[in-house]
Symmetry: C4
Subunit: 124 residues, 4 copies
């Protein structure tokens, strides 16, 4: 790629991991994902900060997206420095040392049939 693709900072205001799931796992587990794309030739060191309604932010959560790779990170799987609580409103800021593209997706399988949402995150 001639020019770097993406931005160094992105935000997602809508975060919520539904509590409860229907269907085979892991694919039908209710989850939220931030999808990161690094088209560049250098690995991206990405840091997530999670914001809450009633407490100070959590993080940073460290993620590496190798050069010319995509990584789809489930918030459910974040463990360090602490898990992201279920059924809790949150939001997220994504910071990277090289430009990346960020997109947010949720699969909600609390009811028998799954529902999906996605949006490109807000570049900032």
């Amino acid at each position: 790629m001639a020019n770097p693709i993406g931005r160094n900072r992105w935000a997602i205001a809508e975060g919520y991991i539904p509590e409860g799931s229907n269907g085979p796992q892991p694919e039908m587990l209710s989850h939220e994902t931030v999808c990161l794309l690094n088209t560049g030739d250098d690995d991206a060191r990405v840091s997530l900060t999670i914001y809450f309604r009633d407490r100070e932010p959590a993080g940073p959560y460290a993620i590496t997206v190798p050069a010319r790779r995509t990584k789809h990170v489930r918030f459910n799987d974040l463990k360090d420095p602490e898990p992201v609580p279920k059924a809790t409103d949150y939001a997220c800021v994504i910071e990277s040392d090289v430009p990346v593209v960020a997109q947010h997706t949720r699969l909600d399988s609390r009811q028998a049939e799954n529902a999906l949402i996605t949006t490109i995150a807000y570049p900032c």
Copy 2:
């Protein structure tokens, strides 16, 4: 955060609170939400204005998003100066005295299985 994240004004053109719900409440109540993220060190004083098809706008609705917090506001819960009517087309402008990020989500549970939509609002 070194630089402020977000914008002082956002718009959502698609507003509609479905009439009727299925499933346990409050989580499966049909609703629309504006998710606000304030990453800054000052509280955000946010004002919503609701636009309609056939009458003058309603508002302002006053909301405070504390510093380093997110607030997910259900349009269903707005009361002052007046409730937002159900099953009625509307739109919304969000104004804040400090930069915030805004995202719009709907959960529609009029049928047995819920449907979801989301989009980052339009920064303007």
Copy 3:
């Protein structure tokens, strides 16, 4: 509003009105909508052009969004100069003489439970 909100031109690349519906009508009729918000003090004269896979574009479709109003226009209801065909890929350009905000939504009720999508249109 101090400054005009929105843009004079928007595009939606994904257009498709599903053929067939389940549930009570008109609310559960499969449909696509462009939601327009005009926060200004002048009426907006909006013109839609519909693009297809295999023929020249159709339009213009003329719509007025009064000052300080929102209008949610179902593509299903467009008649002049010609209806928008069902089960057919299309795309749309929205042009307005004053700034407006445009958002695109589909309700798909071909199966028993409805599915929804939305996105802010592309400002251009």
Copy 4:
């Protein structure tokens, strides 16, 4: 159109073709689509590059969108230089020699009722 509409490069970070489908095909086949709109008077020569989690990118995939036309391309249908694998995280960069608009959609029919997502791609 007086001015060209769109951009020469777009990115989609969230790619995933669900494995398995319910309902009549091809319309209810689980699929992902990139919708391209070319409002200009010259054909658009579009090239897709697909990024993965654990291997080098695939492509380019060559697509022509004729002047004043839209083309909705299912990733499921891409064959040359290689098919896009199912149930695999991927991402996509879209490059065009003339401005186009790009939007991303998924229909997931792994369960009995379909779920849908869409977003305007990230212009870059």
